[in-house]
Amino acid sequence: MSETIIELNNVWKTYFMGNNEVNALQGISLKVKKGEFVAIMGPSGSGKSTAMNMIGCLDAPSKGEVYLSGKDIMNMTESNLAQVRGRKIGFIFQKFNLINTLTAKENVILPMIFQNMTKEERELRAYELLKLVDLTDRMNHRPNELSGGQQQRVAIARSLAMNPEVILADEPTGNLDSKSGSTVISFLKKLHKEKGTTIVMVTHDEHIAHNAERIEYIKDGKIEKIKFNNKIT
């Protein structure tokens, strides 16, 4: 039995919109183990983005517990949490979320700066990561000089900067054409297969979701069903 990296235990998230209570999450429970490739699927408004924020420790639950490597995130200070987030989780967003003023390489280096990595280490690692996503020739380009697919590949390289325990991909193909989308997916699969990286991917696209080993269907803030995918190629 491999170790559990992320655990959501009966997590509720309630928003107040004026006088209305909106329960985005209604007691969701979920476990991600080391080396897994999990997809979280659901229509818009199902609460999958909120769930993603919980898994990524970007938001705190209203009720219930979130454990990251066995530690309750509610007991951590903001700066502790940031430190943990930087080291253990790599984010890939639907809209790439690169810093526009920085080059591809600088974007990959940024998380390493926050973790006090030395300059030599950073340069070397950034080069290796950009090589991994086939972008060494675009290293010194800024995001607006790159195509969507290329930007998302930079984002993948950035998410791997600190060699995280888990990669959280939030609709990674949502803003891409199908060709770039499948390149991005193939990179994720390659990472999972060759490096054993744990991946949690949120998507509303059944086809994309089927790249994962396990699909958790979310509806109305709860896990509705779980499907195991044995035929991954």
Partner: protein, 413 residues
């Protein structure tokens, strides 16, 4: 840990520079306030300091054993121009007889009308005593030297000598020469000598006459503008001042502390002039400070805008591991840099400005009183101050940025 912090500060410095470069126009506009303020402060302080230095060196040439007696001034203007009860020859005699006074020199300083080659000018005239001992004392004290021609003889009525500038610049239409004739208040006089440059604009721009000659021309009674007394013993100077004060009070029939005259040593005169200059500089610098404060508010405004614009970026940085303190540091660095770069430009402009004033003053006014002085403390102080203003102005926006919740910041469009 300190090395790590140093390294981080270096990284964030680069990051902040990148950000500022990305918004070039806005950064420049924001810096204008700071840079105008710093330029003004630097040039005002350097000119004020330079003026103080110049005055000090001028007056120290005067010696420290001199006592200067003037009637109290009712208004601004040259000495004696608007006094209620002027000093007179009687006062001079009283001072001369006071214990501890070695000798006494008197001076008149008057505005005169000069007609020269069909043009009329208004200038100042000063006098030499018609008393050999007193005259030599003054020539020695002020280090007067004749460049061309000669001094007036004692008792000579229609002869004058002129300050250097009248010979070097066409102040009266053309450069004046020895032998030129001009009229002072309709009375014709002849130039017999030109004074060597003293560096003191008052002397270099003045017409000199014998005291009795000027009295006659201007039809003056026996009033005197300034009396300079020399103490026989330098160490007793304070006591001599008191003696003169007491004797003058008795003679002029005024009570103590209600004197209508002033008795000062040259030392006191220097320090009171310095005080005046310090106050004037301080007031001007205070006004310039307003510009810096407005500049600071500009930085605050720019940084708030930056926080709003870059909320998403802050969210991203937090998601990939930036702590609140990292975000705070990045934004503080940016606003500090805005202040500092503004300060650097301001210092450069300030130096250029005061040098320009110095050159203009030297050329147009022939004045060496206006000299810019740049002590290193002024430059370093101005730079530190501008960085500080930037950082302080950016504190509140930076705190706002640091406190953003990652999830809220990320969802910002």
């Amino acid at each position: 840990m300190p090395t790590k912090l140093n390294q981080k500060i270096k990284e964030y410095f680069i990051l902040a520079t990148t950000n500022l470069f990305h918004r070039k126009l806005r950064s420049w506009l924001t810096m204008i306030g700071i840079f105008i303020g710093i330029a003004a402060v630097v040039s005002l302080i350097s000119l004020g300091q330079g003026m103080k230095d110049a005055i000090f060196s001028q007056f120290s040439a005067l010696g420290t054993d001199n006592i200067i007696i003037q009637a109290k001034q009712a208004m601004f203007g040259p000495p004696g121009s608007s006094t209620a009860a002027p000093l007179t020859k009687d006062d001079r005699d009283i001072i001369k007889k006071s214990h501890g006074v070695e000798l006494v020199a008197t001076r008149l300083i008057k505005a005169i009308q000069i007609d020269f080659e069909k043009k009329t000018f208004f200038r100042y005239a000063a006098t030499f005593s018609d008393d050999n001992e007193a005259r030599n004392f003054m020539i020695e004290r002020f280090k007067f030297k004749i460049e061309k021609g000669r001094f007036m003889e004692i008792g000579e009525k229609n002869k004058i000598i002129i300050g250097q500038n009248y010979a070097k610049e066409p102040v009266l239409g053309r450069e004046l020469r020895v032998g030129d004739k001009l009229s002072i208040n309709k009375k014709e006089v002849e130039i017999v000598g030109i004074l060597a440059k003293t560096g003191n604009p008052q002397f270099d721009n003045t017409f000199f006459l014998n005291e009795e000659a000027l009295r006659e021309i201007l039809n003056l009674d026996d009033r005197i503008d300034i009396i300079i007394a020399k103490a026989s013993n330098k160490d007793d100077i304070e006591q001599v001042v008191e003696t003169i004060k007491k004797n003058l009070r008795n003679h002029r029939n005024v009570e103590k502390d209600k004197e209508d005259f002033e008795v000062q040593t040259s030392q006191q005169l220097i320090s009171s002039l310095r005080t005046i200059l310090t106050i004037v500089t301080a007031v001007l610098v205070g006004i310039a400070m307003i510009s810096i404060i407005v500049g600071g508010v500009g930085i605050t405004n720019t940084m708030y805008t930056a926080v709003l614009e870059r909320t998403k970026e802050i969210g991203i940085m937090k998601a990939i591991g930036a702590k609140n303190s990292d975000i705070l540091l990045i934004f503080l660095m940016e606003s500090g840099l805005l202040g500092m770069v503004g300060g650097i430009i301001g210092v450069i402009f300030g130096i250029a400005l005061s040098k320009t004033v110095e050159i203009i003053a030297a050329n147009a006014l022939g004045s060496e009183l206006i000299k810019a002085s740049f002590p290193p403390a002024l430059i370093i102080g101005a730079l530190l101050f501008s960085f500080l203003i930037g950082a302080i102005s950016g504190t509140s926006p930076a705190i706002q940025a640091a406190r953003l919740k990652p999830v809220d910041a990320l969802n910002q469009e």
